[in-house]
Symmetry: C2
Subunit: 473 residues, 2 copies
């Protein structure tokens, strides 16, 4: 027990002990947390092995530094066929690899809609037979092609994609243009209005953005916009309102002088301005661009991707190459649109947890207290969540800071060993898709990965540690 | 002394007592403040008189309700000559009335520049003789013409103004278009680049906005944008970043289809997008439009205007008609641009304290913690300031809420009796002008009104109370 002296005695009523500790900590008053949590069951031996890995400390420091060093700039917009060599019948999707038989409703719906968009079928329903046979179609994770996709994350050859580049390395990442909310392909809807919007995006919006990006006075600084967003109530996963407005600010002038018809430019401005989530599709590849800098760091226990396909939740780490560690995707707890309820929701889906992997989204909820009106929870929860995420991360991002926490950097670089040692799971803000193909969005909420994937990743890291040790011995 | 039990004993180091109380309160934990402050010296008798005024309670409730009920929409943009009947040689300025002899450097500089803009002189320096003689020129407060002006607040006939209207009453308020920061007329600069920019605003920007406002799908909802800004880190006095972006979003499409040359549209978008303060000139008249609804409320002790001309700080109250209660404007405490320091700054100037009068600006600092990097102070100070302003205001604004304070409404309706009873002065965020005419902005900071103007207003309210009592007796 502790006694705090106050010259003006306040009546503090019914303060939950943890809440007060979090509150004081949230105000940047130094708090030493001596609470001890048991490690995840069965991880003790692997934790001991990895803790003694002589590579770990430096590998993690270098991995984190590499991530923090990346500056993402918007350098091009072009169709996926051109950028990724995606051919007729080839598709990308969110999350770890999966086959049609195990694919969730919204992923199936998005693939069906994309098949119709590409002219493989005229009715999306006819695509079911196509994907069941698998003879002329194939799909693989966005992450395998330097891309990320929100929700179902389906990419087909004719879809235009943002191209982000890291100045220093020349590395690039890709993401489609955001369609808006409600009945949209990425939530598994494939009705005529969905396909019509996608065709307009292909015919008008993509080419307009390409000219605007090429003619802008300088490349849009996506990492810099993310810095500003965190000062403006966006956590860049489920709130991208300020980011969307800053993109309009930066691209608007060169859209106007692009030579496109004023009515098309005005419609494009209205489309972007009417969709507060538009910037998500730039935030995500910026996060992937940063995290990819840490891939292939032997000995590093840092997570470089968290991604869900609607059935499986998968992670990859810096020290385990392209291997996915997967478990069942969870149902989010949150707020529902209209008459939808928990029975309508599909388990967690999308590559958008790349934002949390990079230290924003749910990890930066403290800077976006208004998010609780969209994903549920309370303002103190939002502050406590960011604080808690510092316990499972390797460091802070000096560029992405949270004013209300006295400009503390966002918690960055999820450490598999810290997750296993504390049992604290990464907090993800997410949209919720309807579980039936064709429905679309049903809500938004909070979710975590399945706990078992972190011991799986830890075991793989421990195997590598032991293999290195025996090779040297 | 009080003891707070914690199951996880934290090490709380060197917490200032008031800071902790404010912090806990800022987190919406109920705190009963039993601290007693003496009333302002010499106000006891007037406080007793006004406290017993049978009109006061209802008059204040109605005045506050009237303010909260106003919804400001952007309905037109036109020159001051047309809107206000301002004629050649007539000017408006910020703050209470003043003559040339007592006018501060930045107000003189702005009048000199405006005289050149209007072609009364070719060299702004020649305007000094004109204003000294006073034969063909005159100036009066913006507030006397339903207008407000930031800093020097000078309006001349050719300047274009925003027109805001309250749907319900049809009442209107006016404000010029914002010029940007640094060397600008409102900070007292009048060099060739200042006048050139003002001419471009008159020739290109004003007419372009007029068409865009007329052709927009619906009038821009300025009150609604202010609601959003408070969720996006803007306090709408010294941070108007999100508001500026939302204005661009709302007017951009009709600017594009206005028929203006694309290069002019692009230049206008760049001009607005490059000036995070652009929206201030819409926030201010929206606040005036709301507060003017309370004017002429017999018995009300609510402040309806706080305004400064660089020499005098003046307030008006709902219960005392058009009378100004004035005292010497104070120097702000804040951060300076470049090599400027306290010796370069003019005392407080501008009508922009209308934002604080309406419950935002300094009163809403808690929602804009990043503001401390511009005006100085600390994040806990920002939270504490909003909390403190609730002690001198009549109520909260249910439309303008602060997420980090669990969506508590902004403290609204400064009560002269509460200020006198507690000695707590309204907190204002402000820009700082150079004290020498022609210099421009030198910094930004925090300031309060001179304390003595509140007892003066209280005395006038008490006189009216006594006059009513004796008329009835």
């Amino acid at each position: 027990m502790s006694s705090i002296g106050l010259s003006t005695p306040p009546h503090v009523v019914n303060v939950g002990a943890d809440l007060l500790a979090e509150t004081v900590a949230g105000q940047a008053v130094p708090v030493t947390n001596v609470d001890w949590r048991p490690p995840m069951p069965g991880t003790e031996a692997d934790l001991a092995t990895v803790a003694l890995d002589p590579l770990r400390r430096d590998a993690n420091a270098r991995a984190l530094a590499a991530v923090l060093d990346v500056r993402a700039r918007l350098v091009d917009v072009a169709p996926a066929s051109e950028l990724l060599g995606l051919e007729r019948g080839q598709f990308l999707h969110a999350g770890p690899p999966i086959d049609w038989a195990r694919a969730a409703g919204p992923l199936r719906g998005a693939l069906m809609g994309a098949a119709a968009l590409e002219g493989l079928v005229s009715d999306p329903e006819d695509a079911v037979a196509l994907f069941e046979s698998g003879s002329s179609v194939s799909f693989e994770p966005c992450h395998h092609r330097s891309a990320v996709g929100p929700m179902a994350g389906v990419v087909s050859p004719s879809m235009w994609m943002w191209v982000l580049e890291d100045d220093a390395s020349g590395r690039r990442t890709y993401c489609t243009l955001n369609e808006g909310l409600g009945k949209v392909l990425r939530y598994g809807a494939y009705g005529p209005e969905v396909l019509e919007r996608l065709r307009w995006m292909t015919d008008v919006l993509g080419p307009l953005f390409k000219t605007a990006v090429q003619e802008a006075a300088e490349p849009v600084d996506v990492t810099g916009i993310l810095t500003q967003m965190l000062q403006m109530g966006d956590e860049a996963h489920n709130r991208n309102r300020a980011g969307t407005l800053m993109l309009l600010r930066d691209l608007g002038p060169s859209m106007v002088t692009s030579g496109a018809a004023p009515t098309d430019v005005a419609e494009a401005l209205r489309f972007v301005g009417g969709n507060d989530h538009f910037f998500l599709n730039l935030a995500m590849p910026a996060c992937k661009l940063a995290l990819d800098a840490a891939r292939g760091s032997d000995g590093s226990t840092m997570v470089v991707a968290m991604a869900r396909n609607g059935t499986d939740f998968g992670i990859q780490t810096a020290g385990t190459g392209d291997e996915w560690f997967t478990g069942p995707a969870q149902l989010a707890d949150g707020l529902y649109l209209g008459d939808y309820g928990p029975d309508d929701a599909n388990p967690d889906i999308g590559d958008s947890a790349i934002t949390e992997t990079a230290g924003i989204g749910g990890f930066a909820m403290a800077t976006a207290p208004a998010i609780v009106r969209f994903v549920g929870g309370s303002v103190p929860d939002a502050l406590a969540t960011t604080r808690r995420m510092h316990e499972i991360t390797l460091g802070e991002n000096p560029r992405w800071t949270i004013p209300i926490l006295e400009f503390q950097g966002t918690p960055t670089g999820i450490d598999v060993t810290k997750v296993c040692r504390t049992g604290i799971l990464p907090q993800i803000n997410t949209g919720m898709a309807g579980k039936v193909a064709g429905v679309g969005q049903v809500g938004a909420g909070l979710v975590t990965p399945p706990a078992e994937i972190f011991p799986k990743a830890l075991a793989a890291l421990a195997r590598r540690t032991r293999a290195r040790a025996s090779a040297q011995g």
